[in-house]
Amino acid sequence: MKYTIPEQEIMCSGHKACQGCGAALAMRYALKELGPRTMMTFPACCWSVIDGPFPYSSVGVPLFHTAFETAAVVASGIRAGLDARGEEDVNVVAWAGDGGTFDIGIQALSGTTERNDNIIYVCYDNEAYMNTGVQRSSSTPWGAVTTTTPPRHFKKERKKDMMAILAAHSIPYTASASVAYPEDFIKKVKYAKSIKGTKFLHIFASCPPGWRSAPELSVELARLAVQTHVFPLYEIHEGRYYKMSMNPKKKDIREYLKPQGRFRHLTEEQVAHMEKMYDEKYEWLLDLAERSKPYFEAKKEK
């Protein structure tokens, strides 16, 4: 068979992820490309449980569980320690959820990023505090219901644009990826591996229990998020140059929203409002990508 993604499996079966977990899929993909010469830090997040209880583990690489707000900086510390030991070829990866990235971990992440420490930071984004039972985070999208934003008072704030915040640090590479597009995902991990400095990967990872969706639809929903322009896939190079990874013809956002219980309460008017927000954001991205074209053309010529 011709494999479109690396055959090697570093992550093993038996882990504690829920059925249809996008975060588990994300880890499987990332490790396929990262390989065994990798070390990871996990803050408090779903993966602190998924990996398995002491004395077992699923990831197959050295892993340091750490406090909620410290994933990035512990990775910085490991990098410094490895450099001191002369093991510079090891990938150091901070692996955090959206709470540990968008909210409590943003200070340490900003510090690591400003220093441009040589690590890969992966945020697997399931858009709420799923591990504690689905509470809203600053990554939860407008309109969503969580246990702290009930239907009669659903989330009225927009999702924080983490990609833009990271890009504002002028790091070499920021990219969004999705578990529905493994080849694109792996290409981005591969690129992140190949360059020095802080690399940020924002992974859209579906969560059936948190989104109140069917486990079998996990990949399909992640795909629809891209196809409806809710979660566009793109790269930002050097904090300034934008590149769309794909520009699919827009599908109706209702296709994405309907299978998810977290959006079931929305009126048609509210859906239209939501769609408009995503469309505007998407246009903005396309515009930036258009203006960045000379940069990528020049890069290609080199």
């Binding site: 068979m1 038996g14 059925q19 990996d51 583990s57 197959g60």
Partner: protein, 94 residues
């Protein structure tokens, strides 16, 4: 595959909470209510089901056919939805 680790006293343990085995001790197949059945007649050996399995529970056999690893398959059904040829069906566990 790793074996279950059994201690009886503190001196058997490591100094800190350090893992000594892999989670393959945890047979997540027991979580399953529905079992995927692959119809070899319809299968085109594209590997898409293998690719999208979050539980690393689809293996590829010598003839390139996907095989569900029932010890670990949690029965999420992603493979059923993603299969381009409708070659996988979920059936009730006995």
């Amino acid at each position: 595959m790793s074996d279950e680790i059994k201690w009886t006293k503190e001196s058997d343990m490591p100094l800190m909470a350090m893992s000594l085995g892999r989670m393959t001790v945890n047979k997540t197949g027991s979580w399953r209510n529905l079992r995927p059945i692959i119809d070899k007649e319809k299968c085109i050996k594209c590997g898409i089901c293998w690719k999208f399995c979050p539980d690393v529970s689809i293996e590829i056999d010598e003839e390139d056919y996907p095989v569900v690893v029932l010890d670990f398959c949690k029965g999420c059904g992603i493979c059923v939805v993603e299969c381009p040829k409708d070659a996988i069906k979920m059936v009730k566990e006995d």
